[in-house]
């Protein structure tokens, strides 16, 4: 009755063979397609480098002015704008300017990539039930799988640095935008859709004229979530060689440097609050505008 108590597992030899064959096939894949994949991502890398150089190379008053302007345009609130300016002045004063710019660069590009890829996937999911059935569990995996598990293949394929870091960030951060786009479109009132149909709107017109505008508050909630999750990946990304605020945090953890850790951690928090307030108030203003438009 031993087999009842001890699970009949595959045995060490077979298990190790299985693991080795998985590793081996991935290695073959990496050898065969690694260079092509790297070439595919080269434009993205070029853009990332360009953007980071732009942020770190530009005069700091100009950078703060542009950020303040964007904040004002997004939030239309002098409180948030002033808070942003103060936060960036403090960051610079405390010697974290370059790292903050590097983080800002990768988070902005990651958000942009997530939106560009996530919204079309969300729309696709909203329009087809079977797509939703297939994609939802994939999103679940992406959100819950420990980052280090997928960092291994990413590093083997693309090495360490900005692009693998960006991919790691996007894998974790893209699900909310996909989910909320899908949800937002599915929540659009059926009566409104029928009305649009009765006016003879094509499916394209229905999507861009009715569904997406009405789903915008939800889509914005998704963008907001995606930005927050991207920021929370900063430290993980720095583990595969992405420069930015994560590197000093790692250093602080390894050496028990309390002040260094707290300062850089707070700089990440400051970025998060700014991104969050701006995207939220922008989303709210959009919603208010739509609502008044209905009246």
């Amino acid at each position: 009755m031993n087999w009842l108590i001890e699970f009949p597992s595959m045995g060490r030899r077979d298990l190790s063979l299985l693991k080795q064959s998985i590793d081996e096939s991935f290695r073959t894949f990496s050898r065969a397609f690694g260079d092509e994949l790297e070439a595919f991502f080269t434009p993205l890398l070029k853009f990332l480098i360009f953007f980071e150089k732009l942020l770190t190379g530009a005069p700091w008053p100009l950078v703060i002015a542009v950020i303040a302007l964007l904040t004002w345009l997004g939030a239309r609130s002098w409180k948030i704008t002033l808070g942003t300016i103060i936060a960036f002045l403090l960051i610079g004063r405390l010697g974290m300017w370059e790292n903050t710019m590097a983080t800002l660069a990768i988070i902005s590009v990651a958000t942009f990539v997530c939106i560009a890829v996530g919204i079309p996937i969300g729309i696709f999911m909203a329009r087809s039930d079977w797509a939703q059935r297939i994609i939802t569990p994939i999103l679940d995996v992406m959100q819950t799988i420990p980052s280090f598990v997928y960092l291994i293949p990413v590093v083997m394929l693309l090495g360490i640095g900005k692009v693998p870091g960006l991919i790691a960030v996007c894998i974790y951060a893209i699900p909310p935008i996909v989910r909320l786009t899908n949800l937002g479109i599915r929540l659009v009132d059926r009566d409104v859709m029928e009305a649009a149909e009765s006016f003879g709107a094509s499916s394209r017109e229905k999507l861009f004229g009715v569904q997406i505008p009405l789903a915008l508050p939800n889509i914005f909630a998704g963008v907001n979530q995606t930005i927050m999750m991207a920021l929370s990946m900063v430290v993980i990304a720095s583990m595969i060689g992405v420069k930015g605020l994560g590197t000093p945090v790692l250093q602080a953890i390894a050496n028990q440097y309390l002040a260094l850790g707290i300062m850089n951690g707070l700089a990440i928090v400051a970025l998060a609050i700014i991104f969050d307030r701006v995207s939220q108030t922008y989303g709210k203003r959009l919603q208010a505008y739509r609502e008044t438009g209905h009246d």
Binding site: R12, S16, Q20, R27, S30, R31, G34, D35, L45, I49, F148, L151, I152, V155, M156, L157, L158, G159, I160, G161, K162, S238, M239, I240, G241, V242, K243, T247, P248, L250, Q251, A252, I253, A254, N255
Partner: protein, 333 residues
């Protein structure tokens, strides 16, 4: 009185004769918490137990606490792989006093830290056989984020070796020579960059240390420095400090990593003949790295690896012990 002396002299002679045959008594071995030390401790345990009839107990530990315990309490008896730079001063005092004895000042060959290249690179460019010669050719290691520069893979942020590499980077004036010091971010990042380079036949130049599974698995080759070791003052008071505390680093070869097999005087008293085993026991670097690869790939414990080593590498360990002891160990496997 004379009777007493004669009796005790007799008993010493008797016990010396008996030690080999029957009783070497209870022996404790420090099993440090990293792979190579765990493997060595287990090999020692099997050989002492089966070959020399000792009653062995393994005690888990780490360099400093284990050494302190040996120094203060005389327990454990044996530290098979003690990295002595970390405990240099108290160890010297204990050796002086005779309470601790180094039976072997190089139980593993080819160990240490330094700068490595891939095997393929070394084969393709046999003329670039020192660090300095490679430093003249940054174009052979293009940095993905700026192809005009060469990438030198440093040590992850927050590790002690990070400062050392950053200071050496400055000492060798590598920035002016067209190099970028890349921070791999973590051990996983550093290992991943090696795995990627070797699997794709790309060149790789950076920091690592041996004995490790990575070195064995990917067969990296350490490059010697042309620069001599520039002295302890340069190393301890500059190179190994954070960058801002090292104003004028001098180019230097790596400080010699010294490992010894250290035992207590009590062990020598009770296990006489077994000391010869420790004196003879030297693992060639490749063999040690190979065992670490075995452990890594099979997720084997130090004990598993010790049995594997004793079963498959007879030509190495048989030389460490007399023939009759070897037979005893062999028949016990």
């Amino acid at each position: 009185m004379t009777k007493l002396i004669a009796a005790s002299a007799l008993s010493i002679v008797a016990s010396a004769g008996a030690a080999f045959a029957a009783d070497c008594g209870d022996v404790t071995i420090a099993e440090m918490n990293w792979a190579s030390a765990s493997f060595m401790a287990n090999v020692d345990a099997i050989i002492l137990e089966e070959g020399y009839a000792c009653n062995v107990e393994l005690i888990t530990g780490d360099t400093t606490p284990t050494f302190t315990s040996m120094n203060e309490k005389g327990q454990p008896d044996i530290a098979p792989e003690l990295w002595i730079n970390a405990v240099a001063t108290p160890l010297a005092a204990a050796k002086e006093a005779g309470s601790l004895v180094a039976l072997n000042d190089g139980p593993i060959t080819g160990l240490g830290e330094g700068w490595w290249v891939t095997k393929k690179f070394k084969e393709d460019h046999p003329e670039l056989d020192t660090v300095e010669k490679v430093l003249a050719h940054p174009e052979m290691f293009p940095f993905i984020e700026d192809e005009s520069k060469g990438a030198f893979m440093g040590c992850p942020a927050g590790w002690g070796c990070q400062s050392i590499n950053a200071n050496q980077f400055r000492a060798f004036d590598m920035e002016a020579k067209g190099w970028v010091l890349v921070d791999p971010g973590s051990a996983a990042g550093l290992d991943g960059s090696i795995a990627k380079a070797v699997d794709r036949d790309e060149p790789w130049f950076g920091y690592y240390w041996a004995p490790t599974a990575i070195i064995g698995k990917y067969d990296l080759q350490m490059l010697p420095f042309e620069a001599e070791y520039a002295g302890d003052d340069n190393w301890n008071n500059c190179i190994s400090l954070p960058e801002q505390d090292c104003l004028d680093p001098q180019p230097t070869s790596w400080i010699e990593s010294a490992v010894e097999s250290v035992v207590t005087d009590e062990f020598i008293a009770k296990a006489g003949p077994a000391t010869d085993y420790f004196k003879a026991r030297v693992y060639p670097g490749e063999v040690m790295n190979g065992m670490l690869v075995y452990m890594n790939e099979n997720q084997a414990s130090g004990e598993d690896a010790a049995y594997e080593f004793l079963a498959t590498q007879e030509d190495i360990w048989m030389q460490w012990v007399p023939a009759d002891v070897a037979e005893k160990v062999k028949s016990a496997l």
